[in-house]
């Protein structure tokens, strides 16, 4: 998605954002680490290199996150939310593996003392092969981090070069082994559709990823985002444009290979033992996103933080760093449920489709086309339907 943040409502002066409905939800935490060693050519995420920040902010950044954690706990209790322990934590970036274990500890301690964790808490961190070491993994394991999402992207050196990724493909296996030996659940992130990547190259990457024997794989089609270096190269003709028809073939190939390996599909781009954290997003649970540009959702309220680390840091010194907010109407909530639910293997209840006044003929047509099927009271996309979820949702809602 383009990284421009939408404009929204202001943060209320009394710091209260009461629930907009009475649904019981679990509570989750996302922590954004906005630092990278170098920016990859395809990336439009909210991240910065130390050059871009005019010096090192990284070493003291955990302190700002801890401040936000304390303030969020206050907002939740003042707004009348019940005390809830955290079900999952996700450290994303950027490159979270640029944080030291000590910094992780400060953040986790803050979360633990403000909210506490459920017994079976899932704590995930993203990590890049080039900035992750066995010692780092040991350090985090000791703090309770138990899931590792490894940004491998590809096992083809040419593709890694196009993506500007600096790690060597041989670097990955020892790290994965170390992590699994320690007891981590490990997920591998792959990207397909880089300019020049053939179907065979993609097959090879998938097979190499499967050889690692992880519990989970994510496979994302590359999006050439406006404003990235990759986009300039494609626009100037130095790299070929992304072929979405070929991407469809790559997706189907991956689906077939993951199925054979016993990793079951559960969301458009995800296979294996589900990430409980990400599943919370798709089920519209509650979460607070800490750090620059992070988004939060609390019972129909969505709000998001200032994007740049410098402005985030100065805002957090005196208060919150929220820059935009929206209160979802009932029908917006329902539309979101459809938009997100249809992406998953759970699908959506038929009652939701009825509440949204979707013409039954449209649903029937999608079933006839082989894109949708029944699963009990729910409708779920078929294998073929996974690739056209957005078109289907748009069709249903217009």
């Amino acid at each position: 998605m383009p990284s421009t943040l939408p404009v929204g409502l202001k943060w209320p002066e009394d710091n209260r954002i009461p629930a907009l409905d009475a649904i019981e939800r679990s509570f989750h935490a996302y922590v954004h680490i906005p630092f990278c060693v170098a920016r990859c050519g395809y990336c439009d995420f909210n991240t910065y290199t130390s050059d871009e920040l005019n010096g090192d902010m990284r070493s003291g950044f955990d302190a700002h996150l801890c401040k936000e954690i304390a303030r969020s706990a206050r907002v939740l209790s003042d707004s009348g939310y019940p005390a809830r322990e955290i079900s999952t934590v996700f450290f994303g970036g950027g490159t979270p593996s640029l944080f030291t274990p000590a910094q992780f500890k400060n953040v986790l301690d803050a979360l633990g003392s403000e909210f506490g964790f459920v017994q079976e808490v899932e704590i995930t961190t993203e990590a890049n092969p080039e900035s992750t070491s066995a010692e780092f993994l040991e350090g985090l394991w000791a703090l309770g981090v138990n899931r590792l999402s490894m940004g491998v992207q590809s096992f083809d050196s040419d593709v890694l070069k196009v993506l500007d990724r600096s790690h060597s493909k041989d670097h990955v296996a020892p790290l994965v082994k170390a992590a699994r030996d320690l007891g981590y659940e490990v997920s591998i992130d792959l990207i397909y559709g880089a300019p020049g990547e053939s179907l065979e190259s993609w097959r090879n990457s998938v097979e190499r990823a499967l050889e690692l024997g992880t519990d989970h794989i994510s496979a994302y089609s590359l999006i050439v985002e406006p404003g990235t270096k990759l986009e300039r190269l494609v626009r100037s003709g130095k790299l070929p444009a992304v072929d979405e028809d070929l991407n469809a073939q790559k997706y189907e190939l991956a689906t077939e290979l993951f199925d054979l390996a016993g990793l079951s599909w559960y969301e458009v781009s995800n296979w294996g033992k589900p990430s409980r954290h990400n599943s919370a997003y798709w089920a519209s649970q509650d979460w607070w996103g800490y750090g620059p540009g992070a988004h939060s959702h609390l019972a129909g309220n969505r709000f998001w933080n200032l994007k740049h680390p410098t402005s985030y840091q100065s805002a957090i010194a005196t208060g919150l760093a929220v820059t935009g907010r929206e209160e979802l109407t009932h029908s917006q909530q329902l539309e979101e449920q459809l938009m997100l639910g249809l992406r998953t293997s759970t699908g959506v209840p038929r009652s939701l489709v009825r509440q949204l006044d979707v013409q039954p003929e449209k649903v029937a047509m999608a079933i006839a086309n082989g894109n949708l099927e029944f699963k009990g009271e729910n409708i779920v996309v078929t294998k073929a339907g996974r690739l056209v979820v957005d078109a289907m949702v748009l069709d249903f809602l217009s």
């Binding site: 998605m1 383009p2 939408p6 996302y30 994302y220 089609s221 999006i223 979405e244 028809d245 991407n247 469809a248 997706y251 458009v268 781009s269 990400n278 997003y281 798709w282 979460w287 996103g289 540009g293 992070a294 988004h295 939060s296 959702h297 969505r302 998001w304 929206e326 917006q332 539309e335 979101e336 938009m339 997100l340 992406r343 086309n369 894109n371 996974r386 690739l387 056209v388 979820v389 957005d390 078109a391 949702v393 748009l394 069709d395 809602l397 217009s398």
Partner: protein
């Protein structure tokens, strides 16, 4: 002139001051005539000059004609860098027909490419007189403008009219203003008009009270009345657009005139197109909007029609393609409508085998059965161009089924070519082609020249095997194949990929002459949709839902609005230019 006469100060001045519509300023053209009153002093006497700024494009000849009929003299402005154009000749002809005093003026002499001496010679040859009589001015620097104003005062005769006779005023324009109702522009011939007077429209005998009367200088200014020769506006509070017909004569109820003034010739539409609201619920709004535009544009005609593909709409008649474009754009902008205009068509006369006669303004009405004869409108086209392009122009006219009438040298290097051409061949992209093939030097004017039989067939377009009436067109048999192929491949580009395969076929009768396929879309899903992506994704979805409203469902296929226009227009963007 506006600045020199002091009615617009330097701070208020802007380019194209009198072109009030956004669309005119964007395109650099004049569509609506604008009246303005300016004072000018010569030899110690102050004169009031009433001027009307008119369009120049061939589509708006009727607008020019009406304005000229309200005047005693005309300033013939010729671009000193481009010289005389075919439209110049057409408008000059109209001015001469109205016995107007003509003041030839070369404008834009400040341009480096200006050749005032050369064109003064040409103008003198046309009008008679000496090249020295031709004034040379620059609207930009103001050079020569004072001399022009002096010349107007000296040579244009004073208005003749009887101040004591029953009042007669000619309506030469009227526009609808959402705050004030109908604003009617008039030229006083006899008698006078005062506020609060009861006035009567001579054609309908309808009586209204005069709420406001005034002059434009250059903004509306109420006055205590208008007398013989004056040009101004009146407001009666009437909201119904049909009450104030252009060409009608206004008189007073107290002392009615018996003879109306000679009205204007009703313009005859040359090009027809179906105009449909994308949202069927907008049909009544479209009708109201057309009623309002019709008030100030007598040349716009329309009647309700129904299309299988597009639902309820209107078949509208236009003076030409630019006129069509302007009207649809004004309907969308000024009335906030989303519209589809079907491919333009001329009027065909069809004789069936059983002797039955049929006038076809919509290709979908073209009879399916045996046909004895199809006649199409022919025009006499006059093309002026530097001699270097003669070969290119002849080629173009030949390829458009043209027959040359004659060719004449106007000066050393300027040539006038006259051709007979089927109107259907020039309404789409002829002008654009002519301009681009002659680097913009050639100009075109045309007049109707009757009907002639032609070997014409109807080409249908089918989406998923279903005929789409809005895409049908009538073309010459020799061109049917090329036309069908072109439209089919254009539609393939313009219609987005759908969730299923869409075959596109072009057919003459039952025979398929071209085929294209829009492949089904394979992949349409966002790869990453996590916490921060959800709001953006939903906003995108909301935007896409709006976009869908601009799509028309034809059977199961979503066809974007642009496809209906773009499919049959030329490859080059057909934007109008200022031609004065």
């Amino acid at each position: 002139m506006l600045q020199l006469t002091g009615i617009v100060n330097d701070r208020q001045m802007r380019a194209q001051y009198l072109d009030r519509m956004d669309i005119e300023r964007e395109r650099g053209i004049t569509i609506k005539s604008q009246a303005v009153r300016m004072p000018w002093e010569l030899d110690g006497v102050t004169y009031a000059m009433n001027m009307i700024d008119t369009p120049g494009h061939v589509d708006f000849t009727y607008e020019v004609s009406r304005s000229l009929a309200a005047c005693e003299g005309a300033v013939l402005l010729v671009d000193a860098a481009q010289g005389i154009e075919a439209q110049t000749l057409a408008n000059l002809y109209l001015a001469m027909e109205n016995d107007l005093e003509i003041i030839p003026v070369l404008n834009k002499i400040d341009l480096p490419a200006a050749q005032p001496e050369k064109y003064a010679e040409e103008l003198a040859n046309l009008i008679g007189g000496n090249p020295e009589d031709c004034l040379k001015v620059s609207g930009k620097t103001g050079a020569g403008v004072a001399e022009l104003l002096d010349r107007i005062v000296r040579t244009v005769p004073n208005p003749v009219g009887d101040p004591d006779a029953p009042t007669r005023a000619m309506i030469f324009d009227s526009v609808y203003d959402s705050y004030r109702g109908v604003v009617t522009y008039i030229r006083m011939i006899d008698g006078s008009l005062k506020p609060r007077e009861q006035i009567q429209m001579m054609s309908t005998r309808a009586v209204h009270e005069l709420l406001e009367i005034g002059v434009i200088s250059p903004e509306p200014e109420p006055t205590a009345g208008l007398g013989v020769g004056e040009v101004g506006y009146l407001i009666t509070g009437v909201k119904d657009v049909r009450q104030s017909k252009v060409g009608d004569t206004v008189t007073t109820k107290a002392k009615s005139a018996t003879e109306p003034l000679k009205g204007y010739a009703e313009p005859k539409p040359m090009v027809f197109s179906g105009i449909y609201p994308i949202d069927g619920g907008d049909y009544p709004n479209l009708r109201d909007a057309l009623d309002k535009l019709r008030l100030s544009d007598a040349s716009l005609v329309y009647e309700p029609e129904t299309s299988v593909a597009l639902g309820f709409g209107f078949r509208c008649g236009f003076l030409g393609l630019l006129h069509l474009e302007i009207i649809t754009e004004r309907l969308e902008r000024e009335f906030n409508l989303s519209l589809i205009a079907t491919s333009p068509s001329v009027v065909y006369e069809v004789t069936k085998d059983d002797g039955g006669q049929l006038t076809v303004t919509n290709p979908s009405e073209f009879p399916e059965g045996k046909i004895k004869d199809v006649s199409e409108p022919i025009v006499k086209a006059t093309i002026l161009s530097p001699k270097d392009y003669v070969g290119t122009i002849m080629e173009l006219c030949q390829s458009r089924r043209g027959t040359m009438i004659d060719m004449q040298y106007l000066g050393e290097d300027r040539v006038q070519l006259r051709y007979e051409l089927p109107l259907a061949e020039i309404v789409f992209d002829f002008f654009d082609n002519l301009k681009s093939k002659t680097q913009g030097y050639a100009s075109l004017d045309y007049e109707e020249s009757g009907y002639r039989s032609g070997d014409l067939v109807k080409v249908d377009l089918l989406l998923q095997g279903e005929k789409v009436d809005a895409f049908s067109s009538i073309v010459h048999r020799d061109k049917a194949y090329a036309h069908g192929t072109k439209i089919a491949s254009k539609l393939r580009e313009l219609i987005p990929r759908q969730q299923f395969e869409v075959p596109i076929q072009a057919a003459v009768g039952a025979r398929i002459i071209a085929r294209e396929t829009i492949r089904a879309i394979r992949k349409d899903v966002l790869a990453k949709c996590y916490g921060g992506d959800i709001t953006r994704k939903r906003k995108l979805l909301e935007k896409q839902k709006e976009g869908k409203k601009r799509m028309k469902m034809v059977g199961r296929v979503e066809v974007p609005q642009e496809a209906f226009i773009a499919a049959l227009s030329s490859d080059e963007a057909s934007k109008g230019e200022k031609k004065k």
